[in-house]
């Protein structure tokens, strides 16, 4: 396993200089791409490292590993994160139900009545996405302090934030996927 910070020559910080990571990783990836003579497998490996260091949660994970932690998404999660658990599960189920019924509908009017539910579903999805994104940002806002006070000191808090972000990221992906499913069902005619 390569250390992405070292590999790309980037300072070990959770909050990078704006645009620096993208610039450095892009340059390196361009250099090792198989089309310009990169060695077999090198690009894939570097790509993974680049993806990891480009995402904030990826950097947090690297920091925790660097401190000797095994990454574990289990463990206590703040209440403000768990508050999203039921609403997310609920809306995902509603969307699945809509998609299934929409696929089985036989008549134009039957489909239309189902479609009339869509704006409400979409509204709920958007509200949740906004809520989760806001919470995610508040966690990312702590990164600066972790850098300042030193990772060692903040370890416990960092672990908790890592778990929180893991949940939020997973939910965001699921909510976006659900939005996509609605579009597809709706436009399938």
């Amino acid at each position: 396993m390569i250390d992405p910070f070292e590999r790309f020559g980037l300072p070990r910080r959770l909050v990078p200089d704006s645009g620096l990571i993208e610039e450095v990783t892009r340059k390196e990836l361009k250099r090792v791409h198989p089309d310009v003579g990169g060695a077999e497998g090198e690009f894939e490996q570097l790509r993974k490292a680049a993806d990891q260091i480009t995402s904030p949660i990826g950097r947090l994970g690297l920091a925790l590993e660097f401190l000797g932690n095994r990454l574990d998404e289990r463990g206590s999660v703040p209440g403000e994160v768990m508050d999203f658990f039921s609403p997310v599960a609920d809306i995902l189920q509603k969307v699945d139900c809509f998609v299934r019924e929409r696929g089985q509908a036989m008549s134009g009017l039957g489909k239309a009545v189902l479609d009339a539910r869509v704006p409400a579903l979409k509204g709920e999805l958007e509200k949740l996405i906004t809520g989760i994104t806001t919470l995610e940002e508040s966690y990312l806002g702590r990164f600066g302090r972790f850098d300042e006070e030193g990772w060692e000191t903040c370890q416990d808090e960092m672990r908790e934030v890592y778990r929180a972000l893991s949940f939020l990221r997973k939910w965001l992906a699921q909510l976006r996927e659900a939005t996509g499913k609605i579009f597809e069902a709706l436009l399938a005619g």
Binding site: E22, L109, D115, K122, T179, E184, A188
Partner: protein, 581 residues
């Protein structure tokens, strides 16, 4: 050189002093129809010459839609062993495509006055593994070394972006060709062209629109297409295409065939035929935007290529989805070949300032217990890429294990495209002791290779995927056949009644809800009609009379068409107005 191997036409380009140019044949034509005629003795004609025989002799066109497919997927297109009929006997789609490629190679060699052996060939972004592999094989049959299989929208983006290298921007490429449709979202930064997401439909293109026009005309002329002679159908189709072209320029066109009759078609008629196709395109566009996490308003440009991007109603829809007037600066028929030649230049080292990062369009996975799909490489992952999975023996002394490889986005394994299956070999060992790591690698062509590594022995084996696919397919056909026999001996009347009753069961409550929600938008007469139709359905259910119920349900379905459209329109407006910003 770069080759655009299109459904209806193909083109070839090379990079000359850093600039891509199309190569023309000896009559100065840069586009070669993708048509192949093979005579009784195996003599072959390609392109314009072959097309001249269409409607008289058997000419193979649109072979691209058959590449890497199985007979059961393309109704009537292929024989059960995957061959096409020509006058010189059966030929595989790869062999036919190879003729087109050989012809293009000939054009290049006579233009450049030198032998050419290396080529980049483009395929629709949404082509799966087998379709890409078949295209590569066609190139090899034509005596070409295929140095890269490149996605068409990506090629178009290269062509678009080559003279905009200083710009950092995100663009969408909308590529609607003769038989396939792709949409990709890309980011261009400092010479790196990175595809963020791609979506599409490998069975949607200009050919479908021609067919819709033919059906429209046949309907008006009260002619049954199913009983039409194939040569006659070829003439109809080419007239349909002419009408389509005319309707892109003018408000109306006449579909006219000697000794048959004529039908006047307005652009309005044509647009109506296009509605469902447009919805499918929109669905793909929205999926690509969602997957790339880019809002339409973040895009700097939406570039339209492909012959069918000339159709006004397509342009309108693109404008509506992407919230901007599309960029039509790229030649719709030439951009892809140009882009392919740029990629050829990158690989040859003559184009240095650009590099391309493409993605795999479909998720790759394996079947797990319970028939589910376990995704190993998610769609829109940058290629080349790889993923691994560890396998172990379930019983003592087990020597191998069968793994099915799938491509697609559905949860159930059976709903996805099966690439094939392979056996993971185990060293004889106690249960759970044998360990074999299997590595799935998708190369820069988007083609899969599989490597198994025995953890204990460190031995690597390259695994062939695919051989078992045929068995599965035959089993499937058998099952379908036996099901259809059962169906035949069932009481047809009972079945029809049950179907009609189910549809009524859906419609009756829907009428209630719909009238409640949007009834005020209808006039009294319309409401009255719906209520009467509803009453007839309710009576027919009581009377248990098959024909009566079926007719009453159909009548109610029709009577509620306007109401349904109003509801859908309202929902769609609410949905898209909130999703745009």
């Amino acid at each position: 050189m770069g080759i655009d191997l299109g459904t209806t036409q193909s083109a070839i380009a090379v990079v000359d002093s850093g600039f891509p140019i199309l190569l023309a044949d000896d009559k100065g034509r840069t586009l070669t129809p993708s048509a192949v005629w093979i005579g009784k003795n195996g003599e072959t004609e390609v392109g314009h010459e072959a097309l001249r025989r269409a409607g008289v002799d058997r000419v193979v066109t649109s072979v691209k839609s058959l590449m890497g497919r199985r007979a059961d997927e393309v109704a009537g297109g292929l024989s059960s062993d995957g061959k096409l009929e020509t006058m010189a006997g059966p030929r595989s789609p790869e062999e036919i495509s190879a003729e087109i490629l050989r012809h293009l190679k000939g054009i290049a060699e006579s233009r450049l006055e030198t032998e050419v052996s290396k080529a980049v060939i483009t395929v629709p972004a949404y082509f799966h593994d087998a379709q890409r592999a078949a295209t590569k094989k066609a190139g090899e049959l034509a005596g070409l070394e295929v140095v890269r299989i490149l996605s068409e929208p990506t090629a178009a983006a290269l062509s678009y972006g080559l003279d905009r290298l200083s710009e950092n921007a995100r663009v969408a490429v909308f590529d609607l060709g003769g038989g396939t449709f792709d949409v990709s979202v890309l980011e261009m930064r400092e010479g790196v062209f990175e595809v963020l997401a791609t979506a599409g439909d490998t069975n949607l293109g200009g050919d479908d629109f021609d067919r819709a026009i033919v059906e429209f005309a046949a309907n008006r002329l009260e002619i049954d297409l199913r009983t039409m002679d194939p040569m006659e159908l070829v003439r109809w189709t080419s007239e349909g295409r002419r009408v389509k072209h005319q309707l892109s320029e003018e408000e109306e066109a006449k579909f006219r065939l000697p000794f048959t009759g004529e039908v006047l078609m307005t652009r309005e008629d044509f647009n109506r035929l296009m509605a469902t196709f447009l919805d499918r395109m929109e669905s793909a566009c929205r999926r690509a935007l969602l997957d790339s996490n880019v809002l339409a308003s973040d895009l700097a440009e939406v570039v339209m290529v492909g012959g069918s991007s000339r159709i006004p109603v397509v342009k309108d829809r693109v404008e509506r989805v992407f919230l901007r007037e599309p960029d039509l600066s790229q030649h719709p028929d030439e951009a892809i070949a140009r882009g392919a030649s740029i990629q050829a230049g990158i690989l040859a080292g003559t184009v240095r300032e650009v590099i391309l990062l493409d993605v795999t369009p479909l998720s790759l996975g394996i079947e797990t217990m319970g028939g589910l799909m376990n995704v190993l490489i998610a769609r829109n992952t940058t290629i080349p890429c790889k993923a691994g999975e560890m396998f172990t023996n379930a019983v003592d002394g087990q020597v191998s294990m069968k793994v099915r490889v799938l491509q697609g986005e559905r949860e159930l394994a059976a709903d996805n495209w099966e690439l094939g299956s392979f056996e993971v070999p185990f060293e004889s060992a106690r249960r759970g002791q044998a360990r074999v790591g299997v590595e799935f690698r998708i190369d820069a062509d988007g083609i899969l290779s599989v490597l198994a590594r025995d953890v204990a022995t460190g031995l690597d084996t390259v695994i062939e995927v695919g051989s078992a696919a045929v068995d599965v397919h035959e089993a499937k056909v058998e099952q379908m056949v036996s099901e259809s026999v059962e169906f035949a001996i069932e009481d047809m009347n009972a079945r029809v009644f049950e179907e009609a009753r189910m549809k009524a069961g859906e419609l009756l409550p829907a009428v209630e809800v719909a009238l409640d929600q949007a009834g005020e938008l209808l006039d009294d007469q319309e409401v009255l009609e719906i209520k009467e139709a509803r009453k007839r359905v309710e009576q027919a259910i009581d009377e248990k009379e098959v024909g009566l119920l079926k007719a009453a349900v159909e009548n109610l379905d029709e009577a509620t068409e306007t109401l349904a459209a109003l509801l859908v329109q309202r929902a769609t407006e609410a949905l898209f107005s909130s999703s745009q910003d």
